[in-house]
Amino acid sequence: MSIRFPLLLGAFILIAGLGLSMMLADYHLRLLNLAVISAIAVIGLNFAFGYAGLISLGHAAFVGAGAYGVALLTTLLAWSPWLALPAAVAGTALLAMLIGVPLLRLKGHYLALATLGFNVCFSIVAANWIEVTGGTNGISRIPELQIAGHALGNERSYLWFALVVLAASATVAALIHASRHGRAMIAVRDDETASSMTGIDVPRAKLAAFLLSSVYAAVAGGLFACHMRFISPEDFNYAHSIAYLAMLVVGGEGSIVGAILGALFVTFLPEWLRFLGSAYLAFFGLFVLAILIFLPSGLAGIRRPASFSRDGRIKTLALVGASREARQ
């Protein structure tokens, strides 16, 4: 793959998003903003889960770390959001490094449980460290983003900004996918022993995938904080981690296009199915099950040859996660 696909992907996101932003009403623009922000987080999760096979159930904690980083730096220290965003992303990457070095020694379900535990810890700290995080009241009055003196105050202008970030994120992800680093991550998921026998530093490739995934999560978290201008611990509890995983599985793990489609689909599905009322979650559970059984490579796999078969064991875990979410 050359540089053409990543650039085309970025351009397509911009054009399609711009078109949508002109057609939709304010409420749907708000949903689309949330979907675009989720898509950035899910592209990140795709590095860890889709490529390197690291089952992370703590992705929402990294989204939260980015969001709280931006919120704290802008409200407590009165930093500009433009300065707070990169600082929060760097801080989250550091956190992921500290967490990842010990946790990535674990495999499979053990790693899933450990990352889930990390997410629960994050929520407890965010809810109880009241002097800093405001506890369950959260942090409000996060300043809005401004570009050249123009505030991104309404949904449409914010969406344009978010689309640019999404397009850039997807392009960079596609470039990494097509590089030696992307191949190394995919090789590690396929066969760790054979990877090391091909000269790949397996622990390092895993840590790189985990760090990349946390960086994308932190970018999404920062955008979320600036968009909502109010955050609370509930926005980042482990149910959100499972939702990100469901988005990736529905869209098609291992695929950047799939990550974006999954985020869009899972965000808008409740709207389309509003007539189902409280039966929606049960339907969603069945829907994810149907995807796993009939479309094992997700929405993005509809056009892909069946030769890209999937690891059934990892699927089952995602399935358990989805059903747990449906029960909430």
């Binding site: 097509a178 590089s179 030696r180 191949r183 190394a184 995919i186 090789a187 998921r189 396929d190 066969d191 022993t193 054979a194 990877s195 090391s196 026998m197 091909t198 000269g199 790949i200 530093d201 397996v202 291992g254 040859p305 030769s307 890209f308 078969s309």
Partner: protein, 245 residues
């Protein structure tokens, strides 16, 4: 001075001595075969050499570098290559991408460079036509060749082959023998071969080491091994001498 040298390597699993004080030395460009009955410790020896298993005693040197406890990927970067018993190509990467993963052994190579190097290896091994194919579309024999290409793309000085002929038909075995002969002629790669196909071993090996119950019971040229009484009783069978393979 030999290129790859294992001295008094020992490995125990509980009460079982998988390897007891085994010595192996492979010179540059040399072709050494390791034979022996199932469970003799052949694969354990390869695992110790590649660092997938750490030995309880002994040392492993690669061109004078003590790599007894070094991580596997560092040994590979130091010039050690290996293929696995049943072939383990990366299933989610194409043939070309598999081999490019090996070519990335040296950092700083551009994507174009990696692609060209990988294509050169595939070409040499007769797989260039399958470059874009997904692994699953290949036959068992071809998959094993992809793995061999991936190992070669790492530019090894010593290549360890774990039963490369297992599961191949006789035409494929002949082809494999030709490719291995060609490889040695061109690149002076030293090869350590574990194999049960005695026809192949006797045709290729300059030196043969025989393991039984984790001990080296004989070492010598193919003709010496074929007439060694200990080897005949432990592995080849008394009829072997007269079969004239």
């Amino acid at each position: 001075m030999s290129l790859l040298q294992a001295t008094e390597v020992a490995k125990r699993y509980g009460g079982l001595a998988a390897l007891s004080d085994v010595d192996l030395s492979v010179g540059e460009g040399e072709f050494v075969a390791v034979i022996g009955p199932n469970g003799a410790g052949k694969s354990t020896l390869l695992n110790v050499l590649t660092g997938l298993v750490l030995p309880d005693g002994g040392r492993v040197l690669l061109d004078g570098w003590d790599m007894t406890r070094a991580a596997t990927h560092k040994r590979v970067r130091g010039g050690l290559g290996r293929t696995f018993q049943h072939g383990r190509p990366f299933a989610r990467l194409s043939v070309l991408e598999n081999v490019m993963t090996g070519a990335a052994i040296q950092s700083g190579r551009s994507e174009l460079d990696l692609r060209e190097r990988a294509m050169a290896v595939l070409d040499q091994m007769g797989l260039a036509a399958d470059a874009q194919a997904p692994i699953e579309s290949l036959s068992y024999g071809h998959r094993r060749m992809v793995e061999m290409c991936r190992a070669l793309a790492c530019e090894p000085r010593v290549l360890l082959l774990d039963e490369p002929a297992a599961g191949l038909n006789s035409a494929e075995v002949d082809q494999l023998v030709d490719r291995l002969t060609e490889l040695r002629g061109k690149h002076r790669i030293a090869i350590v071969l574990i194999e049960h196909n005695m026809g192949m071993v006797m045709r290729l090996a300059e030196r043969i080491m025989v393991l039984n119950f984790g001990c080296k019971i004989a070492e010598g040229t193919p003709s010496e091994i074929q007439s060694d009484p200990a080897v005949l009783s432990a592995y080849l069978g008394e009829g072997y001498r007269h079969a004239g393979v």
